[in-house]
């Protein structure tokens, strides 16, 4: 019963969502990058020359413009740029989605507890959220890197998630506050359910869809922060990411000579983050009918 309710709501929402031109553009860009990310799994089939990290074209030992064998050209040691770009798409999705997922889980849990418990818990948690929210995450990652040295990709994902839950928790908190007033919560309190049970059994199913809709904004910021970190040379050295590619162009001094190498990774980062951001804004309009009316004029 509950399930059909959700599915129904999902399809109804999707109908409105996909009519929105912003959503259409976002979905289109995202599908293109998904295809790219999936294509990166086919790279090993093309032979060792197209390995994004170690593949070196034996005939080419320097950066060359696009050609038939290397559609986007090669970098300064003869690695295929297209192969790196595809691999970077995969890494961007992994970083963005997993980091966003962790911050959603954290933000939802904290937001529900703050909203339901109220009082001191609420004050302390939300004050912490305020402070973390205004701190520049790139700067924090840099100071941590200065203490602990190079991070691997999962640690970076995790730190970004820890720095980016507050925005989610504020939305979830306000949702929880309004749910708390509903009769069914009062009923379960009277029936003797523990706070833990009420939060995770009764409140969570109601706020979770909202939390996942807000995930798109977190994906955007996670991809941007990871790319910036890699660009500055503090990324995971064993992963080819778009930020890393830009770092290579820059550090090898090819940025003025090799536009074919400079342009693709930056466009990809900007477009993919734009796509996630557009999806988020379009979803906002679905969720908030007031905005929808405005959008349709």
């Amino acid at each position: 019963m509950l399930k059909t309710h959700y599915i129904h709501r999902f399809f109804a929402g999707w109908q409105i969502f996909i009519k929105n031109p912003v959503a259409k553009a976002g979905v289109f860009i995202m599908v293109v990058f998904m295809v790219m990310a999936l294509a990166s799994f086919c790279l090993p089939l093309l032979g060792p020359m197209y390995d994004p990290m170690t593949g070196i074209d034996p005939d080419i030992r320097l950066s060359t413009p696009p050609s038939l064998t290397h559609w986007l050209g090669t970098d300064n040691v003869g690695r295929d740029i297209l192969a790196q770009l595809l691999e970077g798409a995969k890494v961007a999705f992994i970083v963005g989605l997993s980091s966003a997922f962790i911050s959603i889980v954290l933000g939802t849990a904290i937001g529900m507890v703050a909203g339901y418990a109220g009082g001191l818990w609420d004050a302390v948690l939300m004050r912490a959220a305020d402070i973390i929210m205004v701190m520049p995450s790139l700067v924090i990652l840099l100071i941590l890197a200065s203490l602990f040295g190079q991070f691997n990709i999962w640690l970076i994902v995790f730190i970004i998630a820890i720095l980016r839950w507050p925005a989610v928790s504020r939305v979830i908190r306000s949702q929880t506050l309004s749910l708390k007033q509903r009769p069914f919560i009062e009923a379960s309190q009277v029936a003797g359910a523990s706070s833990f049970r009420i939060i995770f059994r009764h409140i969570m199913p109601n706020v979770l869809p909202l939390a996942f809709l807000y995930m798109t904004f977190r994906v955007t910021s996670a991809i941007l922060v990871e790319a910036a970190l890699s660009f500055l040379g503090f990324g995971d050295p064993s992963q080819v990411s778009w930020g890393m590619m830009l770092q290579w162009v820059w550090k090898s001094g090819h940025m003025f000579q090799a536009p074919y190498w400079l342009i693709p990774p930056g466009i990809s980062i900007s477009l993919l983050t734009l796509a996630f951001y557009m999806l988020g804004r379009a979803m906002d309009e679905v969720l908030d009918p007031r905005l929808r009316r405005q959008a349709q004029g």
């Binding site: 402070i131 205004v134 701190m135 840099l142 910036a228 660009f231 940025m255 400079l262 557009m278």
Partner: protein, 323 residues
């Protein structure tokens, strides 16, 4: 804001900063490697090393080290930079002005332009002009800053050779007897590209915010009243709607700060602008821990204080808000 509330806010910020300071101290002790080799440059003479070690209390028990660390912070002793061999305090002093110059200019310009353009976009809602502006703002907002900066450098700096590729001054002009006007023009010339980068990325978020704030203000009853009174369109837009709609933009300067500090550090790094952000990145790359620590603490302090100022400003411009 009542003086009492202000005092509470001030105490709160002091407490938060203290927590950050403490966290950093313990993270430093938790991190791999020996604290002495991290804080004291091994290239110094033994006497200098001993002096620094006793100044920072690195030969004492941990709790005493902590007290000395806090005391050193408040007396401005951050140790000596490994790379420059100078006290960290002096380096920070030199860099701070450059960051403030770039940062405030770009933020003020972007906020004013964002408010102005956002106002027009909301007023002409769903027109072609609005669509173009909103989409461009979205694109600006999600642009990958370093890449955009590199593109500007490549296009305007290298290909068209319009602007210098980095730095803040032409050495010959500043060492020699250049006139004041020539020096100012030279600085402005160096500032165009980094300023443009920061301006464009900040403009996007201010424009979008002003637009949505303006749209919700335009639905309020007092706007209908103003129309019913027969006031002119421009008067309603500028005098009645835009003034109120601009209020959330003021708070967003505080929230936006994290975003623009990240962007500022990246911009400084690419245009070799000698500011705090570039110094932080440089210090982290060179394992210059004392310098990195001081830059970080300074940034954290600035963020906290700026948010307090935004709170104050907000209460001042909007009398309905009481804390």
């Amino acid at each position: 804001m009542k003086p009492g509330v202000f005092l509470v806010k001030l105490l709160e910020i002091a407490l938060i900063f203290f927590i950050i300071l403490t966290l950093l101290f313990f993270l430093f002790r938790l991190s791999p490697g020996d604290p002495v080799s991290k804080m004291v440059d091994p290239m110094l003479t033994p006497e200098d090393m001993d002096h620094l070690i006793s100044q920072m209390g690195l030969d004492r028990p941990v709790w005493e080290q902590y007290l000395i660390y806090v005391k050193n912070f408040f007396t401005g002793r951050f140790g000596v930079s490994f790379h420059y061999g100078e006290p960290v305090k002096d380096i920070i002093k030199q860099r701070l002005g450059w960051t403030i110059l770039l940062f405030t200019t770009s933020t003020v310009m972007a906020a004013f332009a964002g408010v102005y353009l956002g106002k027009i976009a909301a007023w002409k809602k769903n027109s072609r002009l609005d669509n173009i502006m909103s989409i461009s703002a979205l694109v600006c907002y999600t642009l990958f800053i370093p890449w955009f900066a590199l593109l500007l450098l490549w296009g305007l700096g290298y290909q068209l050779n319009l602007f210098p590729l980095g730095g803040v001054l032409t050495p010959e002009l500043w060492v020699g007897a250049g006139s004041f006007v020539a020096k100012a023009l030279d600085l402005a010339h160096h500032m165009v590209l980094p300023l443009m980068t920061l301006f464009i990325i900040n403009l996007g978020s201010y424009l979008l915010l002003m637009r949505s704030s303006m749209l919700s203000v335009l639905q309020e009853d007092y706007i209908i009243t103003a129309r019913a009174k027969g006031l002119g369109e421009t008067v309603i837009r500028d005098k009645h709607a835009a003034k109120n709609a601009a209020l959330p933009v003021i708070t967003s300067v505080g929230l936006n700060l994290a975003f623009s500090i990240n962007g500022g550090a990246l911009t400084e790094q690419i245009f070799t602008w000698p500011g705090i952000g570039r110094e932080l990145i440089f210090a982290v790359s060179n394992n210059d821990y004392p310098l990195a620590q001081a830059c970080f603490l300074l940034i954290a302090l600035v963020v906290l204080v700026a948010n307090l100022i935004v709170d104050l400003l907000y209460a001042w411009v909007d009398p309905r808000i009481t804390y």
